[in-house]
């Protein structure tokens, strides 16, 4: 039978509920223990580790060519950018010169991945707020990207297209044509997204002033990506520490100062437009030449430690390799953006309502395997 103690756990009229590990809003196996007073959130305590697969430890027994594939499984939505970070670190250690053509292809693919990731975020975030239709619209356009990826890389989600010294294979002959078609399509669709969600009064009421994160807090929690940029922290690695050919393209780092969910939303919408701009600049100018540098059959990094960071769709991904001079790394550490961004959730959600928590979590754009690794 029902007892009162089962509902109310202490005398402060506080109610503790478990959101997750199986909950529609966490988009994975994140477990949040929420202390509520009525509908108001007093505390959010994230419990991690439900999908910990010890990728870092696994990488220690994989060669420098193989471990790139393992990194796809961290943030599966921007798998290609993760691979890019790993490849850059190995190239830095082994001092491999990457051909221009490979650099162009890598950056175009990165930006396509970023758009695909943001599309999925957009749909999932709208679904968190109770609107189902955007999810299908987002997947409709994302499908075009995954088909382009499939044609060139042979896979749709975890592409494994990146190798130290370039890319695995040359692009498909139709690649440029199809990317240009996609750009045309997407430019009209993103305005449709604005009509459907951004300018919706209910959506704006749900997100404006919700989940506020100040600039100081964003820095001290180590937030990166759209979360930090929405609070006014300039942290786009593509701009600050350009890798490959990001210094040759012109694009804007989107910055907002409000620090609320709506600002984070606007940042990502703006980033999609900027990605389109980058692809437009590169797609017609891919130089002829090799798509892969000549590398030794067994790659060995010299003794020492190497660190590279890239801008993934969720923020800054750092790859730290400690090498003892062998064919496998001695230790690998991934600095994943999701983990740091999640740490700010408690601060952002406190004092808000349950609905606010979902809006905040939606705009953090969490990918749980990226947090747990």
């Amino acid at each position: 039978m029902y007892t009162e103690t089962q509902i109310i756990n202490n005398s402060n009229d506080e109610l503790v509920i478990n959101v997750g590990p199986q909950h529609p809003a966490t988009h994975g196996v994140l477990h949040l223990v929420i202390t509520l007073q009525g509908e108001t959130i007093k505390k959010v305590e994230p419990h991690l580790g439900y999908i910990h697969r010890s990728i870092e430890k696994m990488c220690e027994s994989l060669t420098y060519r193989q471990f790139i594939c393992a990194s796809s499984r961290m943030d599966y939505l921007s798998a290609h950018i993760n691979n890019h970070a790993c490849a850059l670190t190995v190239e830095k250690g082994a001092q491999i010169e990457v051909p221009q053509r490979a650099q162009y292809i890598r950056v175009i693919m990165d930006e396509l991945t970023r758009i695909a990731s943001h599309e999925l975020w957009w749909g999932a975030m709208a679904m968190d707020l109770g609107a189902f239709t955007p999810f299908f619209y987002a997947f409709r356009e994302r499908e075009v990207i995954t088909e382009i990826m499939e044609e060139t890389c042979g896979a749709r989600l975890t592409m494994n297209y990146m190798v130290p010294g370039g890319v695995m294979t040359d692009i498909h002959p139709d690649f440029q044509k199809r990317v240009k078609e996609f750009i045309q399509l997407f430019k009209s669709k993103i305005d449709e997204y604005d009509d459907l969600v951004t300018n919706n009064i209910i959506f704006q009421n749900r997100t404006k002033g919700v989940g506020h994160l100040s600039k100081e807090d964003a820095i001290s929690y180590g937030c990166t990506g759209a979360v930090a940029r929405a609070s006014g922290v300039s942290c786009d690695i593509r701009k600050l520490y350009p890798y490959d050919i990001y210094d040759k393209v012109t694009f804007n780092e989107i910055l907002e100062t409000a620090g609320d969910s709506f600002a984070r939303y606007m940042i990502r919408m703006g980033e999609m437009r900027e990605s389109i701009k980058i692809i437009e600049q590169l797609i017609d100018n891919i130089p002829e030449g090799d798509y892969q540098a000549k590398t030794k059959a067994v790659l060995k990094l010299p003794k020492g430690d190497f660190y590279t960071r890239v801008e993934t769709a969720r923020g800054e991904l750092g790859v730290y390799i400690v090498s003892e001079g062998a064919a496998t790394p001695y230790r690998i550490k991934f600095r994943s953006p999701g983990f740091s961004n999640l740490s700010a959730l408690d601060q952002m959600a406190r004092g808000g309502k349950i609905g606010d928590l979902m809006a905040t979590m939606g705009t953090l754009d969490l990918v749980i395997p990226d947090i747990d690794r």
């Binding site: 679904m127 109770g130 239709t133 969600v197």
Partner: protein, 354 residues
């Protein structure tokens, strides 16, 4: 002799009518689920159910069969009596409203005039309101008896939401009743014949009523009690099998009934637009009544489509925003509408010209 003094024809006639109405509302609720999936598919650029039967026409039967075959789970820690009562109550209150709705004019059968209405009581609207406000118990009891924190919160949300929006709904109708001067639904429909629909006289009242009807049916953007991304489908989280089916079914029956009431009060009920109904009766007799039923259904189906259209377009409100809209937005508006209507009616009926 006592038995002979009963009007047996009346009893048979009402029994047939009641069974037709109940079966019809259940079938319509069934096909609303199919319609909802088709409308959602249309809006979301998909095909929707198309496997069972032509165009997925048998899908509701398959869904119902699936629900019947599912294992019935009653949580150990739940209050079993109330747990079973919740969905039953939701279904009961959803079905009861249809008793006072005039579905059409009247039929002439064997010299008798048979009105297409189960009971033409002179407090029709009050009865509807009474039954609708009982509907909250289905949500509350089900949510509370589940002994689940999410369900409990959903039950609280549902209770406060439905009670708040009933107020605005009632106030918006008072203005309408000032114009009609009657509570009987059949009289209200008859007053609206030949195009004098109440929507032309009460546009603001209609908008308030429509928003409240959305909230009463727990439809998006007011689906907070079952907010799946916040409360895991809320009050029916612990339900399975046909008990869950009853809750879902009750929602669709509610939606059907609120569209019928909306059509009756504001869109002339069974009045056929651009046609003189009395004249039509002289010409084609009973077929005119049938045409009226079809006309009412067309209005209702359009209303249901608008409900679905809204559901698949907008996100949901936050709980406090919902309460603000109800108490600070709709209730003052409904009051203002009431005062304006009262002043206009006073001037008109007393022939005071300014």
């Amino acid at each position: 002799m006592v038995l002979l003094s009963f009007d047996w024809f009346l009893i048979i006639e009402k029994a047939i009518l009641i069974s037709i109405v109940i079966v019809a509302s259940l079938v319509i609720a069934m096909y609303e689920t199919w319609g909802e999936r088709k409308v959602a598919a249309f809006i979301q650029d998909r095909i929707g159910p198309d496997r069972a039967g032509f165009g997925g026409i048998l899908q509701p039967l398959a869904d119902g069969m699936k629900l019947f075959m599912k294992e019935e789970i009653i949580p150990n820690s739940s209050n079993k009596f109330l747990f079973v009562m919740g969905p039953g109550l939701a279904m009961l209150t959803a079905m009861m409203t249809s008793a006072v709705i005039p579905w059409g004019g009247h039929l002439e059968i064997m010299g008798r005039t048979v009105p297409l209405q189960i009971a033409d009581i002179n407090i029709g609207i009050l009865y509807v309101f009474g039954v609708v406000s009982l509907g909250v118990y289905g949500v509350m009891i089900g949510g509370w008896a589940s002994n689940n924190k999410f369900s409990l919160m959903a039950a609280l949300r549902g209770a406060s939401q439905m009670i708040s929006y009933e107020l605005a709904m009632g106030l918006s109708l008072i203005a309408l009743l000032m114009l009609t001067g009657t509570l009987s639904l059949r009289t209200i429909v008859e007053q609206q014949s030949t195009g004098h629909w109440n929507i032309w006289y009460q546009p603001l009242g209609f908008i308030i009523f429509f928003v409240c009807a959305l909230a009463e049916c727990n439809r998006t953007p007011f689906d907070l009690p079952e907010a799946e991304s916040e409360l895991n489908f809320g009050y029916h989280q612990e339900y399975s099998s046909m008990k869950l089916g009853f809750y879902l079914f009750a929602e669709y029956v509610n939606m059907f009934i609120s569209c019928v009431i909306m059509a009756t009060l504001f869109f002339g009920g069974y009045d056929i637009p651009f046609v003189n109904d009395a004249h039509l009766y002289d010409q084609i007799g009973n077929w005119a009544a049938l045409a009226q039923v079809v006309c009412l259904m067309a209005k209702v189906i359009f209303g249901i489509f608008v409900f679905m259209w809204i559901r698949w377009t907008v996100p949901r409100f936050r709980y406090d925003q919902l309460m603000n809209l109800g108490w600070k937005g709709l209730i003052p508006l409904a009051l203002a509408n009431m005062v304006i209507t009262a002043v206009v009616a006073l001037l008109k009926y007393n022939n005071w010209h300014f």
